[in-house]
Symmetry: C2
Subunit: 199 residues, 2 copies
């Protein structure tokens, strides 16, 4: 029997592909890239707008379990942090230490179920102060993943340097890009995505 | 403030778009069609492979609630039935009366939350006996929806008459089409989709 690869992509609005008129986002583009390379998979997009790591943690197991039954090559891609770093009522929606703890708990829960994880960094938006907070989280997320031997895709700084991303976000709602920006983000993830799938 | 339209598409593998190398399925195509007509929306794809109406009912509220917060134009598109009609161990996975009851309960739960529903018929596969059972369900689903004043999109028979759909399913795994088949299915749904969004 062929490999039956199923991947849950769990995270926020960027995972959901908000802003992309093609409704593919970086998630759909990664799935298509794998398919084109002869790796068919079932992709479940579980991105939800405005969600922080705390909200993602609350639904993580319940939503992934029915999509990743026993006997399949079951995997999880995580990506969040922009909403954690959002300032509301004088502070971040989620304190950095809590974001880090939530990531640790998500990795632990995936580990218990035997689901390999790939983590993708939170992207930048059109707000430098917000981005500075996200970049600090990015750094800490990278450390947590390194300690857990989970591959972490460092797209944050690369997208800050991307004229395509910046222009697309400005042309959109100030946070989300359109098709071109998601294409750019997917292209940055593809090498590690490919390596992770071949493990 | 602009209309903030969010639609959860809840159902089975056909909702998930299994088989489409573009990872858009009929759901992504409907969302793109709305966007192209100046109706931006957030689309959440909650299709899960192999799921029957009973399994969908179990996760319906828990998965839709965090995606459809108060204050948005929150809606639900349902589509299932092919897995209910699947024969296993000498009978259908879900008895027709139970499928009908599950649909009724889903409509009731959506009604309680104030989520308008559009229901899409289960499509045919490359198995005439299975299709006969699905067609019987299709008929009963149409009656339930008519009684509840929920629009029901009768794609089942139209897709049985579609050479594009049949060829695409045969070229695939015998159940799921590729991009061309999903394009065909989406085109059949678009008129009622458009009318429902403008309500």
């Amino acid at each position: 029997m062929n490999r039956d690869l199923r991947v849950c992509f769990v995270g926020d609005s960027f995972v959901a592909g908000v802003g992309d008129p093609d409704f593919r986002g970086w998630v759909g583009r990664l799935a298509s890239a794998a398919h084109a390379e002869g790796i068919p998979l079932t992709a479940y997009n579980l991105g939800v707008r405005r969600q922080t790591s705390a909200e993602i943690l609350r639904r993580f197991r319940a939503e992934c379990a029915p999509r990743l039954p026993d006997g399949v090559d079951a995997r999880v891609v995580l990506s969040f942090g922009v909403n954690d770093a959002m300032h509301e009522n004088g502070g971040s929606r989620v304190a950095p230490d809590e974001s880090v703890a939530n990531l640790g708990e998500l990795l632990a829960q995936a580990g218990e179920r035997g689901w390999p994880v790939l983590m993708v960094a939170p992207p930048p938006i059109a707000d430098d102060e917000h981005n500075a907070r996200t970049a600090a989280l990015d750094e800490r997320f990278a450390q947590v993943c390194a300690a857990a031997e989970v591959p972490y895709v460092r797209v944050h700084q690369l997208l800050r340097d991307s004229a395509v991303w910046a222009a697309d976000v400005r042309a959109g709602d100030g946070a989300h890009p359109g098709a071109a920006g998601y294409e750019e983000m997917a292209a940055l993830i593809v090498p590690q995505w490919r390596a992770w799938l071949s493990r």
